[in-house]
Amino acid sequence: MYNEIFDRKIEDVGLQTGIDRLTPEKIEKTVKQVLEGETGAKLKVYHDTCVRCGMCAKACHFYQSHLEPSYSPVAKIHQSIGVLIEKDGKVGPDFIYQCAQIAYTECNLCRRCVHYCPLGIDTAYMMSTMRRICHKLGVTPQYIQDTAHSHSATMNQMWVKDDEWVDSLLWQEEEARDEFPDMRIPLDVDGVDFLYSVIGPEPKFRTHLIYQAAAIFHEAGANWTMPSEPGWDNSDMAMFSGDFEMMGRLKRAHFECAQKLHVKRIVMGECGHAFRSIYDQGNRWLGWKDYPVEVVHSVEFFTELFKAGKIKMKAKHPGIATIQDPCNIIRGRGLYDHLRFLAHEVCEEIVEMAPNGEHNYCCAAGGGIINCGPPFKNVRMSGNKAKADQLKAAYDKGARTILAPCHNCHGGLEDIIHHYGIDMEIKFLGDIIYANMVKTKAVEE
């Protein structure tokens, strides 16, 4: 059963171009290089001890959506890195295509399956290692590779040029001053309480999020800054493409940016994977057990502001909302209580999805899948009927708003509600807080 015919191959120019350049010798050499050089006991133990009980199948939204054996977490290993380990890398290029498609587009690295495995096998780690091999082989989906290229050329994900970045901030500041006459988006202020970092897509096409965050900080009287230099982007698609060297450079640049400004800590925008990159993967690649500069996620920071009474709501968001728990901040960093606190602070009524919290289903966009672009959009859609069902159930209970404090969740759920025709709107916490907070410093309307 090792070489089941992979019948769902999707054409991707990035993957195909990489495959065309491969030889069996190169594959074998690279696989050995990664397995022997970069992995150790963890991979060996996982590979040896997995008893193939199949309990993890139910954990995976891909499996739950397709109910097809090849989508279970263990099956993904069985069809990719498991074979490479067994065969010591002696596989052909076509097989690598299959490995890459599975690892990049059929696993969100969400780690829900960890809750299902009695042996505690970390499938996400094995899939990451698979991606690492693919990256080293030059077999990466075109779209995510483009973001990784952007990271290496510009230190941000979206080819934002240095002047464009500053320009975007100034533009948002100017816009905001119509509403808040004294508001600044402080740039490169030394020694302030926190540095605010965002992901590349914010200046690129969600600029209003920067406006909103700045407005909230302004209202709260925060002592903050944004960096003008590269390092402002906390996102990290290199982490997901398997380009760990670049991941390390990005994280270093990000932290150094904060260190140069002598800020007390970094506050991150509402993004999941960026958070993952600093507490989980990037820091470890750099050999840091913990942050060199403390990092808090927006969800934590907003909680602080509300608890300190620095932000008050004029009115709560009307109607019933449900909460999408982003893997990387809930299962990834335990911000469940923070998010519940905030949700109840800012929304009139909450209905929970089931399962939720650390047992939530992923949005199917995370782990870089949405970044693999249009060729794989349907993979996410057909692969997350499970989430659509959850959302429909929440809709039936009256929920019309989805609170999703994560960019990937936003993108993923946006596609899902359109694909499955669920009439709901998706909101960041920042959206709701900004729209409904008491604005003492705004011009009278």
Partner: protein
């Protein structure tokens, strides 16, 4: 002829079985731990006994985790299987008599009829696992010869033990086969799939520390 075979399997080969179990097990644990220290330092740096124990306590409780709750049938069978699998050979009266005769140590034994039922439970659970490997498409898809091998090695001593105890077929042949399959079981515990018995604790403690320590989330 029979005596020399019996002496061989219950003597040197049994020593070999336990020797490989203990030394092989130790070797695997030590070598993998040192490999982890060398290669997975950024992972095991977060290991904490407190998290590991908490996690193990959840996972050894039936229905104490999401995975167990969502797979109720497997949960029941798995617990029954593992409890009987370990308790039967250790607390079987006849085995304890052998310990007593050879080493002068003994401990309380299970009544024979209870041990007999437990053996049947192990065999029944093994049949259930075999059934899943064939019929459940999700499991069949990922099943390899290694899984069948592990299942056969594990079931061997129980099937032969049952047949020997009830003196079905030729007793002398069956008892020798029982000892041989038992030794095979001991031999393979440190390696391959069966090594989850000794290495699973590593991955459990690690992922527990990873989840509770780094991710501030439950790993169950």
């Amino acid at each position: 002829m029979y005596h020399s075979i019996y002496d061989l399997v219950t003597g040197p080969l049994t020593w070999l079985g336990f020797g490989v179990l203990v030394l092989g097990g130790l070797f695997r644990m030590v070598s993998l731990y040192s490999l982890a220290k060398k290669k997975d330092a950024s992972s095991i740096a977060y290991n904490k006994a407190k998290y590991g124990i908490r996690s193990i306590l959840h996972w050894i409780t039936p229905f104490g985790t999401l995975g167990w709750k969502e797979n109720p049938v497997i949960t029941v069978v798995t617990f029954v299987f593992h409890i009987c699998l370990l308790a039967t050979p250790i607390f079987l009266g006849a085995h304890i008599d052998l310990w007593d005769l050879n080493f002068g140590v003994s401990w309380p034994a299970l009544p024979d009829h209870v041990a007999d039922i437990m053996t049947v439970l192990v065999i029944a659970a093994g049949c259930f696992f075999a059934y899943r490997r064939v019929v459940d498409k999700t499991v069949a898809f990922v099943t390899t010869w290694k899984d069948w091998f592990a299942l056969c090695v594990t079931m061997g001593p129980f099937i032969t033990g049952f047949l020997a105890y009830h003196q079905i077929f030729n007793y002398q042949f069956m008892i020798v086969l029982h000892v041989i399959t038992g030794i095979a079981w001991l031999l393979f515990i440190p390696f391959g799939r069966l090594s989850h018995a000794i290495l699973g604790w590593y991955s459990r403690v690690y992922i527990a520390s990873e989840f509770q320590g780094v991710r501030h989330a439950k790993d169950w």
